[in-house]
Symmetry: C2
Subunit: 262 residues, 2 copies
């Protein structure tokens, strides 16, 4: 198998489109930003766009497509209906199925939202020597539904989902400094320390992803997470909402460092 | 007359509501952010919200109201139909009139957009010892229509309007550094130097506001400007669009320093 870490985003998108790549995209196209996907009919797009505006930490928008258009500006010659390895289709809040592509179910009234993804800030952390536990453990990041409610917008409301990375206090300070520079990919953490303060009952039993080890000298650090829209969809039950499957992201042409501010 | 610079935003909004204050708001409520206003019917709100998402430098959103709601969260007990000293009503792209309040013309389908305003970054510049020419000259900032086109969104398209502040090269460097920290109020400049490179034919003859002196050792510095939506409205001619009159801003409860990132 080719080393996908050194391929260009266009190359890997083509392989995904041809069903030659079906796996999670972590580690592919080193240096390029990956994104979360939310597809909604135009009738729901205003409420969701307003939801992202009011909740930029869980929902940092990288691009919103024009209505019915499959090619995104942040990914040359892309096709959002085929260029993600695995899609999830939610109907009235129920996960109806997972699909390789959306060709047969594409609608001319669909609007695609690409939201920034923590892979970008994890690269920045690792570049500065901060180990990321779930990457060391080769598993998914642990994610938790909190009692921090999003600002509602139209039909959309619900709890903030967070991802958690444990680290020693000196690394916590560095990680806050580094991720503050990346508001387009969730930015600074929204909580550190006691999980109970944000409504997490059992840190060892995440709602999404896998548990990771937290060592005795470590503090859990919580970032707002792009899975939030999926938790919201399950709650508010829109007619239809399509997302990426966790870990199966949209690979953009945006270089990670371009998402850093200042 | 009371010194409005030391009044609270709530106090001054009340005075404006009572028609006791009708003047431009520059200098009022020291330390608090003021905002540009755009009101549109809900039918046009998606296109405009998407326009702001695609053009965050001229259109940095501080808040979008719920449909028909006059009170904004960033201004406790506010009434957006009365709390600005002077409104402009555009119908099909024509400035139809200026009004003290909107009570008689308020519609239940109106959505209010508050966009960040350069007063915030001017405070930050002055706090670091950078003189702002139009404030020294006690006039309006000069503004120019450029040939830098905004990213279109739905019906909205048009040129970026910029504001200009001349300064010496050492101050230009500082000003870029300082304003980069304020993406919510237009952020870093979008051009420095030769006005012709962005389609400005006569720097001494601005399209909005007043001309200011540019000294021999100074470089003109151009920031994206919140008047852009008004230039866009004149071009795309929406059924109705209501804005503040230039310089007559909405005074929010947001402290300026809260808009700084990192």
């Amino acid at each position: 198998m080719r080393d996908l870490s050194s391929c260009t985003p266009a190359e890997v998108r083509q392989m995904i489109r041809n069903n030659e790549v079906k796996s999670p995209t972590a580690g592919m196209c080193h240096g390029y930003a990956q994104g979360n996907l939310v597809i909604l009919p135009k009738a729901l797009a205003y409420d969701f766009l307003l939801f992202t505006q009011r909740n930029p930490k869980p929902c940092p928008v990288l691009e919103v497509s024009d209505v019915g258009i499959k090619t995104l500006k942040i990914a040359k010659d892309s096709d959002i209906a085929t260029d993600i390895p695995k899609y999830r289709v939610y109907k009235k809040g129920i996960l109806e199925g997972e699909y390789d592509h959306l060709n047969s179910m594409w609608r001319t009234d669909f609007v695609s939202f690409i939201l920034g993804c923590s892979f970008t800030f994890e690269s920045a952390l690792m570049n500065e020597g901060i180990e990321v536990r779930h990457i060391e453990q080769n598993c998914n990041v642990p994610m938790y539904v909190t009692d921090i409610m999003c600002e509602p917008a139209g039909i959309f409301s619900g709890p903030t989902v967070v991802s958690m990375r444990p680290m020693t206090p000196d690394k916590v300070i560095q990680a806050i400094r580094i991720t503050s520079r990346y508001p387009g990919v969730h930015g600074a953490p929204i909580h550190i320390g006691d999980p109970g303060l944000i409504g997490i009952r059992d840190i060892h039993n995440p709602d999404f992803g896998d548990p990771v080890e937290i060592k005795a000298n470590e503090i859990p650090v919580f970032w707002a997470c792009g899975v939030t829209p999926q938790a919201v969809a399950m709650k508010v039950k829109p007619e239809i909402m399509i997302t990426h499957a966790p870990g199966h992201m949209f690979i953009t042409d945006i270089e990670n460092h371009k998402l850093a501010i200042v």
